[in-house]
């Protein structure tokens, strides 16, 4: 069925770099697992299409010839009438059982074992951590760790600008992997269940908070492979794409060196920036960028949040939500007993951004944002959206808060 209709629908599938030859095929597979899956998928679809066509033909034959308007007289049998008929009537089920357990069952057995064999011969480990709504990629041993967030502008999502080719499937920092190496992928989550899916790899594995899951890939062709989160994880579910840049071994080594240098430079810059005292205007300008990239998905570009889920940054607005979240906000001094958002104490504000609020969607940004980023975004928040506290937070204050948090 699917196979046949596919012929008609072929013209409707827009061309894409990763598109397979036929619309009933998965995007061109580039890993052993994906190739095996495509092969099995094609066998299945062929089998069920044949079954569908054969059985439908029998039915249509009956509908045409056994109709009252053609003068058909109804038979009265209610079961196989002879031993031969009884034996013949078991044939379809024997065929089905054979297809189930031999044609499908045996390749599936091997595929399950191959899929589970994440460790033998693996040359590298990558840790993928899902969080609302971005991915964190970490290369243990190489000391590289970064966040990968969507870069499609809000204007394109809201139809205010023409959509580009990779609409919703572009990120600031793709996962970079070497080709022809078996890579063990460890999955974790910081909040809810996500699912890491790259169709060209034939891999979809859930990232589950509190547990590690693993899978593996061995990519045989350099290129950019795109996918996205496949488990509903809240309002940003459609906006956490997975982009993998598969490169040659040499390019990968160069990338690693560059990345390590960048992290070093970022550390040095962090130290340097922490020593500098900035003006309010400088901080607000930098802070706005940080806010757009990290905070606006939940608290909205308007700073108004989403009622019941994400509190406004703008003070003076009523906010009600689950009791736990309100209690946490009250404890930190960000909401009045009447349920209105207020500007809480600066120290408390810094700690919320650094550590997040456990039990609520607010994630910790201490690991992903620099002292300067945090200082500037807090200054921005306290002097925008109608807030005019005049508070200025300097990177050194953030550094001090970090140090205080590390003391037992």
């Amino acid at each position: 069925m699917a196979l046949l209709s596919g012929l008609g629908l072929a013209a409707l599938v827009a061309p894409d770099a990763a598109q397979a030859r036929y619309p009933w095929e998965f995007p061109t597979p580039v890993t052993p697992v994906a190739k095996e899956t495509l092969w099995v998928h094609n066998i299945f679809l062929t089998f069920i299409s044949i079954v569908f066509v054969v059985v439908l033909s029998i039915m249509l034959y009956s509908l045409f010839f056994h109709r009252k308007s053609r003068g058909a007289k109804a038979a009265s049998f209610t079961a196989p009438r002879t031993k031969l008929q009884f034996a013949l009537s078991t044939i379809p089920f024997l065929i089905l059982a054979f297809v189930d357990y031999v044609v499908m069952g045996i390749p599936a057995y091997h595929a399950v074992l191959a899929m589970a064999n994440t460790r033998a011969g693996s040359q590298m480990v990558v840790k993928v951590t899902g969080m609302q709504w971005k991915w964190q990629y970490e290369y243990p041993g190489l000391h590289i760790k970064y966040l990968s967030t969507i870069t499609t502008p809000q204007a394109q999502i809201h139809d205010q600008a023409p959509k580009n080719k990779h609409f919703l499937r572009q990120v600031n920092h793709p996962l970079v992997l070497p080709v022809n190496e078996k890579i063990r992928v460890i999955l974790a989550s910081k909040d809810v269940i996500h699912s890491w899916w790259v169709p060209a790899f034939g891999v979809k594995e859930d990232s589950i908070p509190g547990f590690l899951r693993e899978t593996w890939v061995k990519i045989d062709k350099p290129g950019v492979y795109r996918g996205q989160c496949a488990e509903l994880c809240g309002v940003g579910h459609a906006f956490m794409p997975v982009v993998v840049d598969a490169v040659s071994d040499d390019q990968f080594k160069q990338w690693v060196a560059k990345e390590q240098a960048r992290e070093q430079a970022a550390k040095a810059q962090q130290a340097a920036a922490t020593a500098v005292t900035y003006t309010e205007a400088q901080l607000v300008t930098m802070g706005q960028k940080v806010f757009t990239a990290n905070c606006a998905a939940c608290h909205q570009a308007s700073g108004m949040g989403i009622p019941g889920t994400f509190p406004p940054i703008a003070a003076g607005h009523a906010f009600s939500a689950a009791p736990n979240m309100i209690a946490q906000l009250r404890k930190r001094g960000f909401i009045t007993p009447g349920g209105k958002i207020v500007e809480g104490p600066v120290a408390s504000h810094i700690n919320i951004v650094l550590q997040g609020i456990a039990g609520t969607p607010m994630p910790p940004f201490g690991a992903s944002l620099s002292n300067l980023d945090i200082a500037s975004v807090i200054t921005f928040e306290r002097n925008s959206f109608g807030n005019h506290t005049g508070d200025i937070v300097q990177p050194a204050q953030v550094q001090a808060a970090r140090a205080a948090n590390q003391k037992p």
Binding site: P27, F93, F211, H237
Partner: protein, 529 residues
């Protein structure tokens, strides 16, 4: 016939107005309430479906994503719990006493309570949408109908409303299941042995046992979820020693048999319809009954095939894969019997027969693609993609919904005493068939090309097929208005009077009673030879 007239005289003593329906203990009144409720909720769920397809018509955001998530979640919950389940329960209430020669259900007051728990449940599901308009809470449940923790622990008051709706619907289902089992075991006419039960009655007996087996774990899970949300427990919180995957197991231990709870009653009604319009007895009665048992038994041991990407150990993946494949055999037996029932018959194609044949074709696609999904590794591609969405709509619309519509047309003249408009019925069928396939065939290809489900906005390569699917959905949705119009006309008394047998080839005790049947089906039990 004298007896029947005497019953009609009793109608005058019935309470009039709302109290008749609030306090009724009559199986036919309660059956009609269930069916009416189901039609209303089918329209509510249908409107939500139209909103979903409107959002997906083009790659842009019409609704904020949080509203979209609420729409898909409530669409799923309403369709499963408030549209399809009440419809099959309504058919059971109306038909089982007539089919087995009983005056009424065994536990009539329980029956009344079972129904009246449902409307409050539906209100609980939908109400948060309206509360949000008044600034209370952040809308309905938005976690997907699967309510996976910890997302459902994070959610707003909509989740709590849904948990209480599940309690009410669970209690309602358990009461009606107990009633059905007790009725079938105790109220059969003399001579009606178990293996002479009409096949629809058999299918509901298995369904009732399944409901009693699997609804309590869901209610237990929902209670754990509620405790996690409000009382600081950690059943699904790994930081406190809990496990989010535990919810998946509890949910699917209910959720997979639920598919068969929706499906089985319609696989029971189908042979009656096929046999009537082929003027030929049901083929393979025993084989079908044994298949029901096999499907019922297997359905409770395959749940984790919904969780192949959750990182289960190899042994569990293999077990759940092979166990799932086993279900294809008894289901294939049912298909075989359906084909053999119409084979060499003398067929006519009234609306119920068209929907029954449409059922076979569409549910066939759902079943065959389900076979493909059972492969644990290939499932890594299909899982949570639009391929899955298309598959389960073929299985659940193609099966239960088509079956319920077929049964509605089949029994409408019996229930109301009036024939519906055959022309409109046929239009309804053809428009449904075209609209349905146009909606869901493109979704198979969307899934294969890599589009995940439950996203309000999508990458550009999915744009053409989504537009096609949305156009199909509008055709499918508007077709259902023909059904509603037909129902209203018949209820108003338009259409020619139906005979006692209604259909030329109809068999069974229910077709020995007048149309509409007397208020108490059989006061003197018929004797079955």
């Amino acid at each position: 016939m004298n007896a029947a007239h005497a019953h009609e005289a009793h109608h005058d003593e019935l309470p009039r107005g709302i109290t008749r329906w609030l306090f009724t203990t009559n199986h036919k009144d309660i059956g009609r309430l269930y069916i009416g409720f189901s039609v209303i909720m089918f329209l509510v769920g249908g409107i939500l479906a139209m909103l979903i397809r409107t959002e997906l018509l083009r790659p842009t955001l019409l609704f904020p994503p949080e509203i979209y998530n609420q729409i898909i979640t409530v669409h799923g919950l309403v369709m499963v719990f408030a549209a399809v389940m009440p419809a099959t329960t309504g058919l059971a209430n109306y038909l089982i006493p007539m089919m087995i020669g009983a005056p009424d259900m065994a536990l009539p007051r329980l029956n009344n309570w079972g129904f009246w728990l449902l409307p409050p449940a539906a209100v609980l599901l939908v109400m948060p949408f309206f509360l949000m308009l008044f600034g209370i809470g952040n809308g309905a449940i938005d976690t997907g109908w699967t309510m996976y923790a910890p997302l459902s622990v994070q959610g707003g008051i909509g989740v709590d409303f849904a948990i209480f709706a599940i309690y009410l619907m669970g209690a309602s289902s358990l009461l009606s299941s107990i009633n059905i089992i007790v009725t079938i075991f105790n109220m059969r006419a003399p001579g009606m042995t178990m293996m002479k039960l009409p096949i629809f009655v058999w299918s509901w007996l298995i369904t009732a046992f399944l409901l009693i087996a699997v609804f309590p774990p869901l209610v237990a899970g929902a209670t754990m979820l509620f405790a996690d949300r409000h009382f600081g427990t950690h059943f699904f919180n790994a930081a406190g020693g809990g496990d989010p995957v535990l919810w998946e197991h509890l949910f699917w231990f209910f959720g997979h048999p639920e598919v068969y709870i929706l499906l089985l009653p319609t696989t029971g009604i189908l042979p009656h319809i096929l046999s009537t319009f082929s003027r030929k007895p049901i083929y393979g009665y025993k084989a079908q009954v044994y298949s029901f048992w096999a499907i019922g038994a297997l359905s409770v041991v395959v749940w984790a095939h919904h969780m192949f990407t959750s990182g289960m150990p190899v042994a569990a993946q293999l077990y759940f894969m092979y166990a799932t494949m086993a279900i294809s055999i008894p289901v294939a037996v049912l298909f075989y019997c359906w084909f053999a029932t119409i084979w060499q018959g003398s067929m006519t194609f009234e609306t119920p027969m068209l929907f029954a044949l449409g059922y076979i074709v569409l549910f066939g696609v759902g079943g065959l693609t389900g076979l493909v999904l059972s492969d644990a590794v290939a499932d890594q591609q299909y899982h949570n993609s639009y391929f899955l969405v298309a598959h389960f709509h073929y299985a659940l619309f193609g099966g239960p919904v088509m079956g319920i519509i077929a049964a509605t047309y089949y029994y409408l003249p019996k229930i109301t005493g009036r024939m519906y408009s055959e022309t409109l019925g046929k239009w309804h069928f053809w428009q449904t068939l075209v609209g349905f396939n146009l909606t869901f065939i493109p979704q198979f290809f969307l899934g294969i090309a890599g589009m995940p489900r439950r996203i309000p906005d999508y990458a550009l390569q999915f744009a053409h097929l989504n537009m096609l699917s949305s156009i199909g959905a509008y055709i499918l949705g508007s077709a259902q208005l023909l059904l509603v119009y037909n129902l209203i006309q018949v209820m108003r008394g338009v259409g020619k009077k139906a005979t006692t047998q209604v259909w030329e080839g109809a068999q069974g005790l229910e077709f020995t009673l007048s149309s509409p049947p007397p208020y108490h089906s059989f006061e003197t039990q018929p004797v079955i030879q």
